[in-house]
Structure formats: C-alpha cells, structure tokens
Amino acid sequence: MTTTGHAGAPPVRDHSAKRRWVGQSIRRVEDPKFLLGRGGYIADRITPGTLHAAVLRSPHPHARILRIETAQALASPGVHAVITGQEAAELCDPMPDFGPDPARHTWRCLAADKVRYVGEGVAVVVADSRYLAEDALELIEVEYEPLPAVTDPERALADGSPLVHEALESNCAYERSFDFGDVERDFAEADVVVRDRLRWHRSGGQPLETVGAIAEYEPGTGSFTIDTNTLSFTSYLFMAAATLKVPANKLDIRPVPAGGSFGSKLFANKPAVIAGMCARKTGRRVAYLEDRADNIANCDHHGSDRVYEVELAMMRDGTMRSIKIDVIDDYGAYIQFGVGHHGNALAQVVGPYTIGSVRYRVRAALTNKNQQGAYRGFGSEVNNWMLEQMVDKAARELGLDPVAVRRKNFIREFPHFIPTGNVYDSGDYERVLDHALELADYGHWRAEQRRLREQEGRYIGIGVITAQERSVFSATEFWFWFDEPGAPVTSTPESVSLKVDATGGITAILYSCAFWGNSPETMVAQLVAEEFDCSPYDVSVVYHGSRDGLPATGPGGSRTTVMLAGAVEGAAGKIKEKARRAAAHLLEIDPDDMEWSDGGFQVRGDPERKKSLAEIAVMLHLFKHSFPEDMESGLDASKVFDHPYTTMPSADRKDLGVFYPFVGHACHVPVVEVDTETGVVTFLHYAAVHDCGTLVNPRSLAGHIVGGTAQGIGTALYEEFVYDEDGQLLSSSFMDYLIPTAMEVPELTIGHVETPSPYTPHGIKGGGEGGRMMAPAAINAAVNDALAPLGVRLTELPMTPERILAALRAAGTTG
C-alpha cells in the first residue's frame, strides 16, 4: 500500500483483482416482490383495527391561530381523538432540527401559535377510517387572524418585511461570506468579468408514494414501535426520540420499502411523530399516511429556491480565474437542515475547472412557504447549473467555443484539492467529454442546426455541460458554517452485519438503510457474492430497525453503495479470518498456508485440500468443541465502516477540509428544438456520459441516469411549486405540478467511463443523483444555444413556455 501523502488521506487501493459479480448488470434481487404486488409498502401494512389519522391543513400562508373548536369533530362517528397544535406542543417537543438557531425558528409537528405557510398542520383527527377522519376534519372550526405574508426571498430580507419567526427578529436565518484563495488578486488580474443574475425556482422529489408511518405505543414498557418509509438513522435516533419524549432505546423505527424518495423521505420524521403522538394518546395502533395534498404542501421537502448574483473572472484566452457567488436561498418557513445544501455546492463549487479562488456569500431567507428538505442533488445541482450558465455566458462574451473553454480549464491531475478544501479523488474529464460528443453525434447536430435555421427557420440548440457529481458526504458540511461549536471531524458511519448459517447461507443485515427505489439489496448481494463466490440471489438481506442498531446514517448524498461496500468488505474480512483459522484447524495446517479460493479455504495451491464455507460453517455452528478454546460457536461479524476520507476544517474556515471526496463527473449533450411561436421545448436527441468510478451494476446505474435526467427535465421545463404573492400555493396537485410523462422524456444514449476511486472498495463512487445534477444545466444550455441567434438567454428555471415567450418578447422577438 502507498499513501498520497495528503493529511488524512486513506491508503491508495489496488483495484487490479478480477471481479466476478461487481460490474455485472444482474437482475435486481428486490424485483420479484414488487412485480407481484407484494412490495410491503407502508400503506400495505395496515392491519384490522388500525386507526387512521388525518391532518387539518392551514388555508392561510401566515396567520395567528386564535381559537380551535374541536367538540363537534370529537363527537363525529368513529372519532377517537382530536389533537390541536397547542396540545401537540405539550405531548411532543419540537421536531429534530439541524438549523442555525432552532430555539428561535422552532418547528413543531403541528403549528401551535401561528401558521407560517399554506398547508401547515393545525390539528389531527384519529378515527376508525380515513373516511371518518376526513369527515371530522370538516367539523373543526379554526379562527385565524390573517397576517401579511412574504413569499419573495429578497423582499423577506428587506427592512419592513413581515416576520416569519418574531423570535428571530429577522427573516435571515443565516448569513456568511467565505473567501477561498485570493479572490481580490484574481479579479484584479482578470481581463474580463462576466456577470449574471440567475433564478432557480423550487421543485421537489414528489415520489408517487407519500410519506407514512404506523405507530404503536406500549404503556407497559413505555416504548414506541413505528414502521415508516422514511429513514431510521440509528446515529441520530435520539433526536426523534426526544421529540416523542422517550429515551432512544424506547423507540424502534422500522424501515419499510418506500415508493420512491429522491431525497424527499430523508429524515421525514413528521408523519412518524404524528402517528406516534396519536398512538400514545389513543392507546391504539395508528397510521398516518400523507395524502398527495399533504405531500405537496406540507412535506418539508421542497428543493432549492435560489437567487444568484455571480461574477466570473476570465482571461481573454478563456482561462477561468476566480468566481464570486452571492446567493440567497429561500428556505421557506423553517430550516431543518440548516444551509447544508450549500455545503454540497461548496464540495464542487468550481466544477471540473481549475478556478483558483472563490468567494461564496450565502443568505438563508425565511418566507411563508413549506420548508426545504432534500431533493436529489441537495443543492449541488443548482451550483452545477449556475456555473455552467456562467461558463456559457463567458464563452459567448469572449467569442470562444464553449466546448473549447471547458476543455481548456479541465482539472487534469488527481487527487486535486479545490479552493474550498474538498478533494476530487480521480477523474478523466476529457475522456468523458470526448465520449459524450461522439455519442451525441455533435458534428452532425451542429451542421443540422445551421441547416434547419437557414433553410426552415427552426431553432435547434445543443447544450454541452461538464459537471461534477460529489458522493459520500461527511456530516461536517452541516456544522462548518459556524465557528462554534468546534466539533471534531464527523465520522458518518454505515454498518453491515453478515451472518453465515450452518449451511453456509449468508444473511446481510443493514442498519438505517431503507429501500427507496435504489437497490441496496442488489448492491449488497453483489458485494457479498464477490467476497464469498456465492450467487447474489442466495444472499438474504434484512433491514434492521433503529433500536439496538449499529451506527449508521443511511442513504443520502450518493453514499449508500460506497459505504455499504466498505462495511461488507470489513465484515467479510472478519468472517474469512475466522473461517481461515477454522479450516486450517480442521486440515491441521498453519492458517498462513491457507488461501481463499472459489468459495472456501484451501491449502495454498492445492484445491484437493479445501474446506468450503458451508463445511466450515456447519462445524463452527454445531461442533464448537472441535476447535480451540478461544474460538466461539457461529460465524458472523459486523463492521462499522466510518467515513473513509474526511478532514477537519481550519479554524478560520478558509479551508473546509475534505468532506465529499469521491467525485464523479458527467457530460450531458441534449439537442432541443424551441418553438418560438409557442415557447415549447422538444428533444431531438440526448446523450449522457457519466463516470462514477467502478460500476457495480451498470444497468442499474443507467436506470438512475435516465430517471434522474427525467427529473432534471421536470426541473428545467415543467415542475415548480408556485406560490403567489399572497402566499397561496397554486400548484397543489399533479394537475398543476407537472411531472414529465413518457412523452416529455426522450430516449437517452448513455455512456459510461470508469475512473476508479483510489480510496474506496473496488473504486466505487456514488452515482444515484447524477442525472438530476446535470440535466437542468444541460437543457438550459441547449435552449440558450437555440435562441442565441435571437439574442435571448433564459436565466430562470423552469423554462416554461410562458417564460420562454416572455424572454423572446423582452428581446423584441415576437413570440
């Protein structure tokens, strides 16, 4: 083993061993139950006698709650309880909150004193059925005193704005400006400064299954058991337990398969808290399943909502020198994850380019909207879009080819530390770009673009973007915003237990890990099969609940596969060590003379003298006395795999340390046509090449690329949670919140490049978010390329027909 010589860097790994299962596009092991309609989602687990909860949502964006009258609802047929926000505040403590100052922007499962957005819960009814619960909701009378609302983040930060949280005395929940490198010098030496103002509106994951939980409370032991499709972070379980006012060892959150998440079920504890509160109050098993209106208006998982003012310092030859980013992010009424989304941005703020310095000023605005949570990309996709917009604008202003500008500035040596302190472990950006241009048939489309414009007056655009895909976060990105507390470096672990039964069958136990539509079972099965030479279909995978679980953080930030790979490798290593000793003992040979070969341990170079894993396992399970005193019965092991590469930020925060080290890369090349009469954008072609290190299941990754791109198409063209000036939510159903159908998503031509990470098992990097991290930038670039002859640039997403026509009109082109 060698080391990189960088402080805190793990040993560089040797990836030369041949792999049998990692890299194969096997069928997913999860599939059969879902195909048979036996997925076991949360709504499928309602048993006879389970009560149903339904939440009364506020129709006001901002109002004081003067009075709630519940007697009539309580008398309604089948109703067991009605809990108002005031009562809920007594039954439960505030929700878990990673925000800057939770005591002054306090978030509860139901609004207690005033509502802060349309859709916020004010009361919950528990009844024999959802029908009866909803009947009773209509009988609750709430007297509100409406207050002026603010929905524009810049207005929210201005003097005289209505205050979302009076205790905060401002709507600015966080503000800080960071300098990484010598920004002033780089700007002074630049030939040109390219400026722009960019606006990214909010969209969200909107999985087809909403969030839900089924809770039971056992008064005899004072314990909760809650099944839910959100996460059950064992590492942060104490926070949810505190909300429910029980010790963490009295709360078992059991993960069930989720019908999609895309980040939006990350730490989505509110339904679990509401169900738990209702279960304790009624003494019954209670289900709270959000309906679609809840999930759109009250999910706590809207995506980024940003206004950027950016300056990019350039040399005339196309060299990028420095960038000043001033961003306001509209967090809505609460700020549960703090500004962690900007940590994501800072992990790859300079993209794949050798930009020497960065100024990053971030202001978090609170407004009368549902709060932000997580959505595939977690804010880094917005940075990708902003940066690629700036690169294209710079190329246009300097009269340079946008592809050539990108190529000129590519980082080419790895590991590479960017100005913020994060590291890019490996990459080959030129190869990704070349492959994408080839798959896109770039030359052909450039010729077609010219021909169609000249001969038919059609506006075709080709977008080329090259951007980063960070993976495997370390939780330092949630606290390095503050000088205090100076926490030590955060490990953000993931754990796996492997148990080999007496027949050699292997069960893998995952902690805090949910099935979200990603493929943790397939990943683990392939990794275990790689270690033990068994069939992945013979591996059994169990999702362990939170109580008595091992430390784990679960999916998020494209970390699952890498972290599970490390945990599987560690646990397998322990099992093999014991199996080696056992086999050596049985064969009466020195353990050092044994080698693992094709599913067992053999005497080095002698396949005739071998014990299979099953032969070893049966002896260890049933015949312990055949072994030395110190060898226990059984064959199992656990590995708590800590984040393999994360380092401390500097005290002055001029260097944030390494916190997102396994950095993939992609190039997307969409070809679009913009109809200048209607403002409609259609795809003519779409090529995407991703490099997220060694692939475990290429087909599965391709599925994530297409699916993520489809969501990126939604973000770029269709999806927006629209709040009007008064704070009303205008897109409160799928009639108005437009998710792309098969007709809006083109067939993608996908390519893979594999630059293994030097630091991870098999060289794997995370890849689950890549499609959505690239597509909005790429489609915006394509639309702008199409409209360049008309002098039009779109700087606001989504690029709805209205916005495109408005831009055309503003440029004096009839739309």
Partner: protein, 168 residues
C-alpha cells in the same frame, strides 16, 4: 346512524365477490382494504398519475377516482392476477430483465396498462408504447427501460410456443 350501504357483485382476478360498501367507497380502497389486494397502489388521488390503474372489463381505469359501486357487475383485473402457477407473466419477467422498475410503486399500474396496450396491439413500435404509457407516471425510471420491457414482452407473448421451446 349507520351509513347507507349498497351491495355489489363483481369478479376480481376471476374470483367472484359479493360485498356491502358505502356508496362513497373508492374502488381502490375496496380492493386494498376489503379484499386485501394491496398490489394496487395509491399515488396522486386525483386521477392524474395512473399508479392505481386496474382493468375493468379489460379497459384501464383509475381506481382512485372510481367508486366501488361503479364496478358492480364488472370483471376487474389487478396485478395479483398476472402471475400464474408461480410463473411471472412475460411483462413482469421483462420488467425485471430490463430493470423497468426501481421503487416498484408505479409498477402494478404500469403492468396493467401494458396488458391493455398489448391486448389492443400485440406488436407495437417503441414510439407507440411510449405514447401509450404516457397515461402513467413513473418517477424513477425515465420510462426508457419500461418501454424496452414492454417491447420484449410483446415479442414473447406473440410467440408463446417459441418461448416455451427456448425454456425447455
């Protein structure tokens, strides 16, 4: 006061049922809660996403905006009726082979819609499948592998004899 109920008679996956339901009871709730057929899922609850698609007399409907009483006398097919004798239906098998599912939540509705598409046209082009499945939202896959799966399944369903030969 006990709510008014109506008696309905219908067949679900070939099995006859007689049941008393409230007039307002949704077909999807009747299937899931009264019959325990939880393979039909609820997505948007207003007839847009197609997650709750089942076949009523062979035609796809949205069971989240259909009342159970409207299914009186009908023949309903749900995902639970697709696999026969422990064998996956070719559509189910091809969804797996092509990874035409990720979270699996839209899959039962998508499978039922695909059954209808192939009943109407056993040999569709990929573009025809794309257009036809635009009735159903999938948030995971971007549809591409679903279309591939439907095309492969169509080929197998057109030539069952040939498939059997391959299998044997």
């Amino acid at each position: 006061m006990a709510p008014t109920t109506c008696t309905i008679r219908l067949t679900v996956n070939g099995q006859p049922h007689v049941a008393k339901v409230e007039p307002r009871r949704l077909l999807v709730d009747f299937l899931r809660e009264d019959l325990g057929l939880v393979g039909t899922h609820i997505g948007c609850e207003h007839g847009v996403c197609g997650t709750c698609t089942v076949l009523l007399n062979g035609a796809s409907i949205r069971s989240c905006i259909t009342l159970a009483v409207q299914a009186d006398g009908a023949d309903i097919s749900t995902v639970e009726g697709l696999a026969r004798g422990g064998e996956l239906h070719p559509l189910q098998d091809e969804f797996s082979a092509k990874q035409g599912l990720q979270c699996g939540y839209c899959t039962p509705g998508m499978l039922m819609r695909a059954c209808e598409i192939l009943a109407e046209n056993p040999d569709p082009t990929p573009e025809q499948v794309r257009s036809a499945i635009a009735s159903n939202l999938c948030r995971c896959t971007g549809y591409q592998f679903i279309i591939e799966a439907v095309i492969s399944a169509a080929a197998r369903m057109r030539a069952p004899a040939a498939t059997e030969e391959v299998v044997s």
